[in-house]
Amino acid sequence: MSENAAVLRDVTFRYANGEQGALNSIDLEIKRGECVLLCGSSGCGKTTVTRLLNGLIPHYYEGELSGDVSVLGRDIRITAIGELAGTVGSVFQNPRSQFFCVDTTAEIAFGCENMGLPEAEIQNRIDKTVTEMHIEKLQDRSIFNLSGGEKQKIACAGVAAMLPELIVLDEPTSNLDLDAIDELREVIAAWKSQGKTIVVAEHRLGWLEGMCDRVIFMENGGISAIFSGTDFFAISTEKLNDMGLRTVHTDCNYLESETGLHAIKPYSGSEVITLEGFTYSYGGQDALDIGRLELPVGSVTAVVGHNGAGKSTFVKCLCGLQKRFRGTITVGGKRLRSKDMMRLSYMVMQDVNHQLFAETVLEEVMLGADEGSEAKAEQLLEKLGISHYKERHPMSLSGGQKQRVAIASALLAGKNLLVFDEPTSGLDFRSMECTAELLGSLDSDVTVLIVTHDMELIDRCCTHILHIENGRIQQVVDL
């Protein structure tokens, strides 16, 4: 057995469909038992490296590959992806698209079943994995009733039960909150202590501190620098941001503050939107119970709280999307009921693909606008920096540009309460910075609420924090 788990020699790869993330003559050795972090901005090629390691390239994603890739002593070109399955495990970004079964136990068993292991052996492995990962509570549950963090744990368990030697994780925390990330960290620590080789491609870095032996920094399809774990996590924030990387340490954790609305930046407006009767319950439980709250008009407010705290119920109510909701908002002396709130507010979803409908960007933003407001539309597109894309199909734009189109269409439809659901999940430093700048630069009559776990984004653009726990807030602190 060689001491290397994976060796890449002069590897160059280009996707056949022109997808970003081509590699230019990469050389990389990953030792057995090592934990390696791949980082760099979007499109730098880190995901491509993970796909080489699990055989998805060249067997699933097509393109031109040159150079040698060997994984656990096998040439990936001639090793079928199914043969690698038992030795290389993969965890992906989106829990929604990596499940096959509707119940958790079947899901953990799925990989082993495909390997054709005997039933008794599979049962043994499930029991062992469940005990090791402390997920007894998650056994025999319906996948649809799990949180994002729990789903990601089941995905890890499914991989672990196959007893792979090398585990590849591609942005596993993109959809997770801070608590869930801590749990994932424990899973990885346990794998590390079992001597498994671990390769993680990530934007979020902080959670891997003290875990990685080496950090590989990639730019434009090449390896620009390799750090030891200790050296890397000692790099200053400014330097990291210069490299296009997200900050490792954020100073404050807003979840430790008292619940309620807090101003975190000087703010000069005086008008407020008054929310009253924001109570909502389902299944006999109070999901939300906020009697009265004043949101400053023109503020950028981060809505924070632990998973299940009622954040999404709150913003759904505010956008008039929650049925049977009876609260009201008062703005500029006008009192609006639930179904009228929709005329005022707009939610930009995490997957912005859900809300782009038209054939061109211009048509898209004009959909809800008054007739004859083309000039205004062009002006707004100019301001958002997307005016030269106005004849393009919205679906052909990048994620950040799509987000801008969605914002433009909401503003033109006369909406001035914008709600964002995790706008920076899975974004690298520069894209996060752009989103932050954009949200901070909207007109002063536009009020923004951002449901987010991204402390860096909050630091950059939010004027207020609304901390909700158990669907409740304490008395509102003076603005």
């Binding site: 699990n54 055989g55 998805l56 067997h59 699933y60 079928a80 992806i81 199914g82 043969e83 690698l84 399955a85 038992g86 290389v88 495990g89 993969s90 992906f92 989106n94 929604r96 698209s97 990596q98 499940f99 096959f100 079964c101 509707v102 119940d103 079947a106 068993a109 799925f110 990989g111 079943e113 495909n114 054709g116 292991l117 039933e119 599979i122 049962q123 499930i126 025999d140 549950r141 319906s142 649809f144 009733n145 991989v159 196959m162 999307l321 929709m342 005329r343 507010s345 707009y346 979803m349 997957d351 693909n353 859900h354 809300q355 782009l356 409908f357 038209a358 959909l367 809800g368 439809a413």
Partner: protein
């Protein structure tokens, strides 16, 4: 979550073997839909009783509201057929008669279908196909397809919400494009999810030539025997009817 093969395993009530469900389905198709033996009085009554079985099964799977709605609807149609139709004539007879004829015949099989899909999990389905010696090349693509539907439905719901917020609706300015506006994002999202799903499946060894194991426990229990006996009884009555033992 009641969709295709997405039974909520935390709250599913009485579990039947998928093969039992299939047997009931075939029996319903033969007697209720196909009308076999309807000229024999005993078989006709047994068929009515058998048609109630899927409704009962829905109730045992704790799908109360579905069971109630289908039950009332079927009862109303069947009693219309039995009590009202003989007294009608002319145009009323053709309209009501044809409606009753079609729905009374179709409904039991449709309800059974709804029950089968909403009370079986993908793993049970694969296990049952495996036991019936259906080749892997057929079951695997089917199971991936079944896994794909609920996700597409979720996407569809999200797109509808977005359209509501944009005030794109029937009667609005853009009513003519409602379908196109739904399909474009739906297709983009489905393609993304489909390709991610396939990639995840491949890395976990789906589709290799190895013979798959299945740890899903399916098998015949008391409830299966009762249900199969009820279905078998109808066939027996039919045989007896054909040979002239019963009328």
């Amino acid at each position: 979550m009641a969709g295709l093969f997405t039974a909520d395993i935390e709250n599913r009530g009485l579990v039947l073997d998928p093969r039992t469900k299939l047997a009931v389905m075939i029996t319903l198709v033969v007697f209720a839909l196909g009308g076999a033996g309807s000229d024999i009085q005993a078989v006709a009554w047994a068929t009515i009783a058998l048609s109630g079985l899927p409704i009962l099964l829905l109730a045992t799977a704790r799908q109360w509201s579905k069971a109630a709605v289908f039950g009332l609807l079927y009862a109303a149609l069947k009693s219309a057929e039995l009590l009202l139709v003989p007294h009608l004539s002319g145009a009323a007879l053709s309209v009501v008669g044809v409606c009753c004829l079609i729905f009374v015949r179709l409904m039991p099989s449709l309800i059974m279908g709804a029950y089968m899909l909403s009370s079986t999990t993908v793993s049970e389905f694969i296990a049952a196909m495996h036991r019936m010696h259906v080749p892997q090349q057929i079951t695997i693509p089917m199971s991936v397809m079944f896994r794909f539907f609920p996700t597409v439905l979720e996407e569809f719901a999200a797109i509808n919400t977005a359209m509501k917020m944009r005030d794109i609706r029937i009667g609005g300015r853009n009513a003519g494009k409602l379908i196109e506006y739904r399909l474009v994002p739906l297709m983009v999202c489905s393609v993304n999810i489909g390709s991610e799903l396939s990639a995840a499946a491949l890395t976990r060894g789906l589709g290799t030539s190895v013979r798959r194991t299945n740890i899903c426990k399916i098998g015949f229990h008391a409830q299966d025997i009762a249900v199969i006996a009820a279905s078998a009884a109808v066939y027996i009555l039919w045989m007896l009817g054909l040979t002239g033992v019963v009328k």
